[in-house]
């Protein structure tokens, strides 16, 4: 697969040209935090960021989006019939995404894009998007990607991996889409030996700084019902306040709600992020709630990510180690701690 080098001083003009061809999204400083946004000018992008506050999942699965529109006007022969809301599915580039976040989309694909059902919005956005990732030279202290099967230089979820080698960026394509992307960039230079060496050293340094914090294999090997009935959930759940922060900032939390809204004589069917932390998530019309207790909801979140998902899809956990939930949980529930509890050799019910 091909690779090129672009010096940092030339990068803004390369980016400017790219933005002339298609919409480009990247990490932008918004207030005090970085979020992914549409770049209006090349200088909007801030590639010196650690990671965004929210995951970039909204680029494929917006927090709220209209699915269908309908008329409710009396006498309209089409009243009550849902019509797909028109959307912009033009090809686009997401630049500077972290390898963990890109890997998350692949994990989410298994939910949205299956043999039997394909989610039209997710699939079309995935098809039309080129992911140009930015390797993590200095992973944060809450990062644990190397413990969950990805890494700071992981290319698997990306079309192109960018490495900041100091004076410039090394671009390495790993898919056909990535090749096309590189072919379209002007000002690309051949990659010198020293750049390649530097990138390699950065990779080794970044990966080496992280280590393995818990064993995913041990969790997968523990029987589901033993984990489900384990005693430690009671301690894990105590501090949880059942807000949706962990799920909303998580790149692999895809659960959503569907709501109808009415505006006078028309309306929309909207889908919006939902959270297994909310009691309403599983609340039956009858009043019965299979997960009425906080413990059940907390357990569901971790079990889904680390046990049900690998079991259902035969491999991988639904966590990429981005550390957002660790940093943002208002009460410091740490998935690394929970994963260690789940991977202990015996979690047999007491």
């Amino acid at each position: 697969m091909s690779e090129i080098y672009i010096a940092k001083d030339k990068f803004p003009s390369v980016l400017g040209q790219l933005m002339g061809k298609c919409p480009v999204f990247g990490p932008v400083l918004q207030g005090k935090f970085h979020e992914f946004g549409r770049l209006e000018r090349p200088e909007d992008v801030d590639l010196g960021y650690g990671n965004t506050r929210l995951s970039p999942k909204a680029l494929f699965h917006p927090q709220a989006e209209k699915m269908f529109d309908f008329s409710l006007s009396k006498g309209d022969p089409e009243a009550g019939i849902l019509k797909e809301t028109p959307k912009d599915f033009r090809p686009r580039v997401i630049l500077g995404i972290r390898p963990c976040d890109a890997r998350a989309f692949q994990l989410d694909d298994r939910n949205f894009d299956t043999d039997s059902v394909r989610d039209p919005w997710w699939v079309r956005r995935r098809e039309t998007t080129t992911l140009v990732g930015l390797a993590c030279n200095t992973p944060g202290s809450t990062c644990f990607c190397t413990s969950v099967g990805t890494g700071p230089f992981d290319k698997t979820g990306l079309d192109v991996l960018m490495v900041d080698v100091g004076e410039g960026y090394l671009f390495q394509a790993s898919t056909k889409k990535g090749e096309e992307f590189l072919a379209g960039l002007s000002a690309g230079e051949a990659v010198s030996g020293s750049v390649a060496e530097k990138a390699d050293a950065l990779k080794k340094g970044a990966e080496g700084s992280m280590g393995t914090q818990f064993s995913v294999d041990a969790i997968v090997q523990n029987p589901t019902l033993d984990l489900f009935n384990a005693a430690f959930w009671d301690e894990v759940q105590f501090s949880c306040i059942n807000c949706g922060t962990c799920t909303f900032v998580c790149p692999t939390c895809w659960c959503f709600d569907i709501q109808d809204e009415v505006y006078q004589e028309k309306g929309s069917r909207i889908r919006l992020w939902d959270s297994c932390m909310f009691p309403l998530f599983t609340f039956h019309g009858s009043g019965h709630n299979p997960r009425s207790q906080k413990l059940q909801r907390v357990r569901q979140r971790f079990m889904h990510k680390l046990k049900y998902y690998p079991e259902k899809y035969k491999g991988g956990v639904a966590c990429v180690g981005c550390g957002r939930c660790v940093r943002q949980c208002p009460v410091n529930i740490d998935i690394r701690h929970v994963a260690r509890l789940m991977s202990a050799s015996c979690v047999c019910p007491t």
Partner: protein, 280 residues
């Protein structure tokens, strides 16, 4: 790309109030477009999302059998926002249907077997579908004995009363209709709870499968009876309810462990359920 969230538009052909408390109504729906009807291929035990623009969707078991052509029916219990709205709708109005969804009762496995159907209250809808399906002249010879135990709190709360009476008159199906209690002097069927009636009628477990749908309390007390009669967990089949939104295994809320009730269910054997977390 086919959009699995887009309901097929249907017209409400008729609305029948099933029970004396007016909480159960059966909606007979006709597809507006023949091509949608052709795509809606289902088997008894499946469900669909009923959709009302501006109100929302609700998952409801399909009460008709695929042997009944030209329409589909749903018996809806008035509970929440969407079902209450449905109960206020009128014949001729347009709504939507999305589906069919979920697995069905395991018809390939049931072929050549005796089938014992046990139902309680308003959870009789997909059971009705199953009975109609099996009794169809083209299908009846594919199954052995058919035994039905169906109970409700009182005679007025039984669904599909005319059909029940018609089945009672047939030779090729054994009906045990029962009510918890009644003061009706003309009541000519059983009085007693479903578990007790099941025990009393003691359908044979030989070469048999049991399909059981009803309120949790009924299921709880009927399962030991079935076990006593010799039904192993692999041959006891049930259908679960769960809060649902997408109905196609994507939105994430209806899981029991690894299984999504909407896509991998709603039909499970007791053996399958025993391997899953007890969270339903």
């Amino acid at each position: 790309m086919n959009n699995p969230y887009l309901p097929y538009p249907v017209r409400i052909e008729s609305i029948v109030t099933e029970t004396e408390d007016h909480n159960q109504k059966t909606f007979k729906l006709v597809f507006l477009r023949p091509e949608d009807e052709a795509k809606f291929v289902y088997m008894p035990g499946q469900f669909a999302e009923l959709s009302v623009a501006g109100v929302g969707e609700v998952p409801i078991g399909i009460a008709t059998s695929p042997t009944e052509k030209g329409f589909i029916s749903f018996t809806v219990n008035k509970v929440g926002k969407v079902t209450s709205h449905l109960h206020n709708m009128e014949e001729g109005e347009i709504m939507g249907v999305r589906g069919p969804m979920g697995n069905s009762f395991p018809w390939d496995v049931l072929e050549g077997k005796n089938v014992v159907i046990i139902g309680g209250g308003f959870a009789f809808t997909t059971l009705r579908s199953s009975i109609v399906y099996m009794l169809h002249p083209e299908n009846r010879s594919r199954f052995g004995d058919i035994t039905v135990v169906y109970g409700a709190r009182s005679p007025g709360l039984l669904l599909y009363k005319e059909e029940l009476a018609a089945w009672e008159r047939r030779e090729d199906i054994r009906m045990h209709i029962t009510v918890d209690a009644t003061t009706d002097p003309n009541w000519k069927y059983n009085v007693g709870f479903v578990p007790a009636v099941t025990k009393e009628k003691a359908p044979s477990a030989d070469n048999s499968y049991a399909i059981i749908c009803g309120p949790p309390i009924m299921i709880k007390f009927t399962l030991p009876v079935l076990t006593e009669l010799g039904f192993p967990p692999e041959r006891i089949i049930s259908s679960l309810e769960m809060r649902m939104k997408c109905g196609i295994g994507i939105c994430g809320r209806c899981n029991i462990g690894t299984e999504y009730v909407c896509k991998d269910g709603p039909v499970f054997t007791l053996a399958q359920l025993s391997r899953l977390p007890n969270e339903y």
